[in-house]
Amino acid sequence: MQPVRRLEAVWFMRVPQMRRALLWILVLALGFFLLMPLLTLVLWAFADVWRYPSLLPQMYSLKWWNWVFHNGNLGKSALWSFTTAPVVVLLAWVICLPAAYAFSRLNFPGKRFFFVALLAADSFPRFGIYISVATLFFQWGLIGNYWGVVLVQLINVIVTMTWIPTAGFDGVPRELEEAARDSGANPLQVFWRVTLPLALPSILVASILAFLSAFDEAQGTLVVGAPDITTLPVLMYSLVANYPEPVGAVFSILLSIPNLLLLIFARRILLSGYLAAGFGVR
């Protein structure tokens, strides 16, 4: 019984109300930590005058929204962002999904090695890669070029797009495929009508993560795309540095909208364990 008594040192943990209160304080602190930065940003976006130490802006206005929307760079950057990120995802599908299927279903020499080698390459510090990539791209004429930007953003999504769908394919029981063969489906029909639909959620999760990563990528895009190609995050860097707070805030909200839509749509499948399975949990 001796070791149990030690816990009584924290006497208030034994009072249920105290325990509940402590739990709520913890949750509120976490909520503050997670959300409060974003809330301040939202306030700033609608602030006209906000002087320290007021907790709320003294005057509200939409004039900075107006300013951002009439800034010619915004439309151009948005166009670059929305033409590169989806193409990165498409390209990643073509390159990674067949490999994910092979890693899950086929036996070939060096399978384990390739699988881990992808990870090893992925852990190389990004900025070092971007510098070296830029010099290679320079030789290949891919600097300031659309495809150069797509390729540089692709670096960050290959592992995600391979690992998570591999776990997805692993999760499709062979019996279900065999039952389809037995019912008269040839291997290709089995793939399209049984394997792929069942692995689809994991592919969706990987695609969402890939899109977010490509959409948010700024460093590599800056190095490879400059000066012609500025995506939204690249533009954000220069706005943060050169304009008053509300500009960055307005811009942040605009930049978050597509992502937040994606979050609402994807919350359920993200929580359903495919990401964790991709990283070998379970």
Binding site: E175, A179, R181, D182, S183, G184, A185, R193, L198
Partner: protein, 352 residues
């Protein structure tokens, strides 16, 4: 001619058990059970027939034609699996209609056949449900329907009821039995549950480590197990190690006459069914250790004078001490093969 013939079938590397030189035939309309412990090669055999595994040697012939060159989708077999039987992203109707759709049957025919087969398995109202909304037993019935709707020549079942609870398993077994007797479809049924095999099968093939131990009707398997392994595996059995010595088989307290073909000094195994042991006026002295009432009969655990334990099933009196007599004894030689069956007349000759 047999519907299906397996000749010299072999599979060396299989994670579900190897198969060594297997020969057997299945007649039209017959139910053959492959029975054995896990890893004995029964599932490997079934998967070779279905086409999911390629044998290393031998042949699989249906109606005299080899199936080996046909991929699974072109073989006239239908399979029901143990787990993950239905496609979770399709409704029951689409699960059952899948194969017919691939065969491009007219819509009206598909509708009719799916309806008929769902009625056959007793779930006509489930067509619109999804597998996750069905119980385990219902899922297995739909899986059966999905296999039956394509009218296969041969139905393959791989422990289809193993994941169900005991009561449901029994009911499904009886339903499958009556369905088979009505439709008359040929079946190969893999199981490690001997009760399932004894009830369903016309013939049982007992397998062990890739070899066929015995293939026979259930009665024969139960009453005359061809090897010591089958004797031990099927039903409850008292096994006693013994020796042939001076014209007698000596095992524990028992002394029996020697069946022909056994040499002096050879070690033997005696096998006695618990229901063949009974208290009598003469016989061997035993002490009753434990009695369990199992409803229509009782199970007595008996201790012999030499310390060995015996099981007896009886409906009669069980004294705390007394003499027991065996009415039927199977004798297995050193090779494990059945050497002889001692019936009451033979047993009566010997006194302890």
């Amino acid at each position: 001619m047999a519907l299906l013939e397996l000749t010299h079938l072999q599979k060396q590397y299989a994670n579900l058990g190897v198969v060594r030189d297997l020969n057997l035939e299945v007649a039209e309309g017959e139910v053959l059970c492959l029975l054995g412990p896990s890893g004995c090669g029964k599932t490997t055999t079934l998967r070779m027939v279905a086409g999911f595994l390629q044998p290393d040697g031998g042949d699989i012939r249906m109606d005299g034609k080899s199936l080996l060159r046909l991929p699974p989708e072109r073989r006239p077999t239908g399979m029901v699996f143990q787990r993950y039987t239905l496609w979770p992203h399709m409704s029951v109707w689409h699960n059952v209609a899948f194969g017919l759709g691939l065969r491009r049957r007219p819509r009206a025919e598909i509708e009719q056949r799916v309806k008929d087969v769902l009625e056959l398995v007793g779930l006509p109202e489930m067509a619109r449900r999804y597998p996750a909304q069905l119980s385990g037993g219902q899922q297995q019935r739909i899986a059966l329907a999905r296999a039956l709707v394509l009218e296969p020549r041969l139905l393959l079942l791989d422990e289809p009821f193993a994941n169900l609870d005991a009561q449901l398993r029994e009911r499904m077994r009886d339903e499958l039995l009556s369905l088979q007797r009505r439709v008359g479809i040929t079946m190969i049924f893999v199981t490690h549950d001997q009760a399932e095999a004894l009830v369903l099968a016309h013939r049982i093939a007992v397998m062990r480590e890739g070899n066929l131990e015995q293939i026979a009707a259930p009665d024969e398997i139960y009453n005359r197990p061809a090897t010591r392994f089958v004797a031990a595996f099927v039903g409850t059995m008292n096994l006693l190690e013994g020796k042939v010595s001076a014209g007698q088989v000596i095992a524990g307290p028992f002394r029996f006459p020697v069946p022909s073909g056994l040499k002096d000094g050879e070690t033997v195994t005696l096998a006695i069914r618990p229901e063949d042991l009974a208290f009598a006026s003469g016989g061997f002295p035993v002490r009753t250790v434990q009695v369990a009432n199992l409803g229509h009969y009782r199970r007595a655990t008996l201790q012999t004078s030499e310390g060995g334990e015996l099981l007896a099933f009886t409906g009669g009196e069980i004294p705390s001490e007394g003499l027991v007599q065996a009415s039927r004894v199977l004798v297995y030689g050193a090779s494990g093969k059945l050497a002889g069956v001692l019936e009451p007349q033979a047993l009566a000759q010997v006194k302890p």
